[in-house]
């Protein structure tokens, strides 16, 4: 028999309104980037060659692995014997945060390298989109880390249970949204030529 579908998405409904708004906003930037490129393909192509795709790949793997750790922690929180698994869930969240921090450090190195080369927001249209999207996403990762830290502390205190974990689901959904946005951003900015 097919498993009955939940009536609402996981977490608070408010977080999903925020997620839909964020997706819409980033979506406009992604489409704006793709169509602006058509006006000056040569500049976009030569500017894109200045980006290090390997850092983009590493960052993608860091974020999806971090998301996986959050999924695993949530899975443990939902289990009946959660109290016994508490330490394991806390460890998963710790590593999820750690990977998020490494992502931000790599991003800072990348941005610093661009500034050192004299590249900035007004260099050309490609870099205008690049800096806006990267910094905007960076801010979302930063907020996501604050949320993960909150989940980490609450889980450590044993504030979640198999019956009450809506707050955890909300935070986890936000973190997965950050991951989803990066997957599209990475393909568009770093790989598509």
């Amino acid at each position: 028999m097919e498993k009955e579908k939940s009536k609402y998405p996981p977490g608070d409904f408010g977080i999903w309104i925020l997620i839909y708004i964020e997706l819409f906003t980033f979506g406009l930037f992604f489409i704006g980037f793709a169509f602006s490129r058509r006006l000056d393909i040569e500049t976009f192509h030569t500017s894109q060659l200045l980006l290090d795709q390997r850092i983009g790949v590493i960052n993608t793997i860091l974020l999806i692995t971090s998301s996986y750790f959050v999924v695993q922690a949530l899975k443990l929180v939902k289990q009946k014997d959660f109290k016994k698994q508490l330490q394991k869930a806390v460890r998963y969240l710790f590593f999820a945060m750690l990977l998020g921090v490494v992502f931000l450090i790599l991003k800072l190195f990348e941005l610093g390298d661009k500034f050192a080369q004299g590249i900035h927001l007004s260099t050309n249209q490609f870099f205008m989109f690049y800096f806006i999207l990267i910094v905007f996403h960076f801010a979302h990762v930063l907020l996501g880390l604050v949320i993960l830290y909150n989940l980490f502390c609450n889980t450590k205190k044993g504030l979640y249970s198999p019956k009450d974990h809506k707050g955890f689901e909300s935070g986890a959904s936000y973190w997965h949204m950050v991951d989803l946005l990066w997957v599209v951003l990475f393909a568009l900015i770093y790989l598509l030529r």
Binding site: K3, K5, S6, K7, Y8, P9, P10, W16, I19, Y20, L23, F24, G27, F30, I31, A34, F35, R37, R38, Q53, G56, V57, T60, I61, I64, T65, S67, Y68, V70, V71, Q72, K75, E169, S173, H176, M177, D179, L180, V183, V184, A187, L188, L191, L192, R193
Partner: protein, 81 residues
């Protein structure tokens, strides 16, 4: 192998595949199609399994999926036209 581990492995595989495909001298149109297809698949995996929307009613899971489809389609239009 546990479901979530399979999803993570698939996501890593698709990421590396797209990156390596970019290193090969593929025909531009083929590469763009490959890259957008892998990005769409990765997005769907995150939406369905990480966000856990495969467990909720269609009207809620459809919003991010439609968003992803529209964004990927318009990017394809901008690159192919």
């Amino acid at each position: 192998m546990e479901k979530n581990k399979i999803i993570l492995s698939l996501l890593v595989f698709l990421t590396l595949f797209a990156f390596l495909a970019g290193q090969l001298e593929l025909v531009k149109t083929l590469f763009i199609a490959l890259l957008l297809a892998t990005t769409f698949m990765k997005g769907c995996l995150i939406i369905e399994y990480f966000m856990n929307l495969s467990e909720v009613q269609v009207k809620y899971r459809i919003i991010p999926t439609v968003w992803l489809s529209v964004v990927i389609t318009l990017i394809a239009v901008a690159y192919y036209l």
